[in-house]
């Protein structure tokens, strides 16, 4: 529950930065904070207190005499599998956004969003 509240607050802080700040790098920092918050929210969805990680390397985790794993001893592995790839995609998307910032700086020698007014109407 604590992790749920913390991740929600992280998402809000990131969203605030992305909405209010005028510096392009600050906006992207806000987006990356939001990314961390979303990942933590998804991970904390699958966490059940007192259970172990979904790596079955001990005989005690099986039901007796079978190859079936005892479900009541392991946390949910599905959110972890989803977040695992999301982090790697996140770094690639952040790098892409930053390269756009570098290109924009090379045009106007500025990374303040107020200096880019050509598309304003």
């Amino acid at each position: 529950m604590v992790f749920f509240a913390a991740s929600l607050l992280l998402i809000f802080i990131g969203l605030y930065a992305a909405l209010v700040k005028r510096n392009l790098i600050k906006i992207i920092i806000g987006l990356s904070i939001m990314d961390t918050g979303v990942n933590m929210l998804i991970i904390s969805l699958g966490f059940v207190k007192g259970r172990t990680a979904p790596i079955i390397s001990l005989k005690e985790l099986f039901k007796k005499g079978t190859w079936l794993v005892d479900v009541s001893k392991v946390v949910d592995p599905l959110p972890q599998a989803l977040v695992l790839t999301a982090i790697v995609i996140g770094v690639a998307v952040t790098a892409m956004a930053l390269s756009v910032v570098i290109r924009m700086y090379s045009v106007k020698k500025s990374i303040e969003i107020d200096d880019f007014k050509e598309l304003k109407w």
Binding site: N23, I29, A53, V83, V101
Partner: protein
């Protein structure tokens, strides 16, 4: 012992939120970048508590290492100072 671990997690969460606020509020872009890298590092410890060692590994290598480097390169290339 378990109680101590829970208080430690609470401390880490408060640290994360404080770092996020600092990264949003500060005028110096390099400090903001380092703070956002630190958030990722703390988050990887929290993932370890949440029984997700795979995700903790990825977050520590990518969030604290590669993302921070990419941000630092961009700040250096754009000579950034927030107005």
């Amino acid at each position: 012992m378990a109680e101590l671990l829970q208080y430690f997690m609470l401390f880490l969460i408060v640290l994360m939120l404080a770092l996020a606020l600092f990264a949003v509020k500060t005028k110096d872009l390099l400090s903001a970048v380092i703070a956002s890298g630190f958030i990722s590092l703390v988050a990887s410890i929290v993932y370890l508590y949440l029984q997700a060692p795979d995700v903790a590994m990825t977050e520590a290598a990518i969030g604290a290492g590669i993302t921070t480097l990419i941000f630092v390169i961009t700040v250096r290339k754009t000579k950034g100072k927030e107005k």
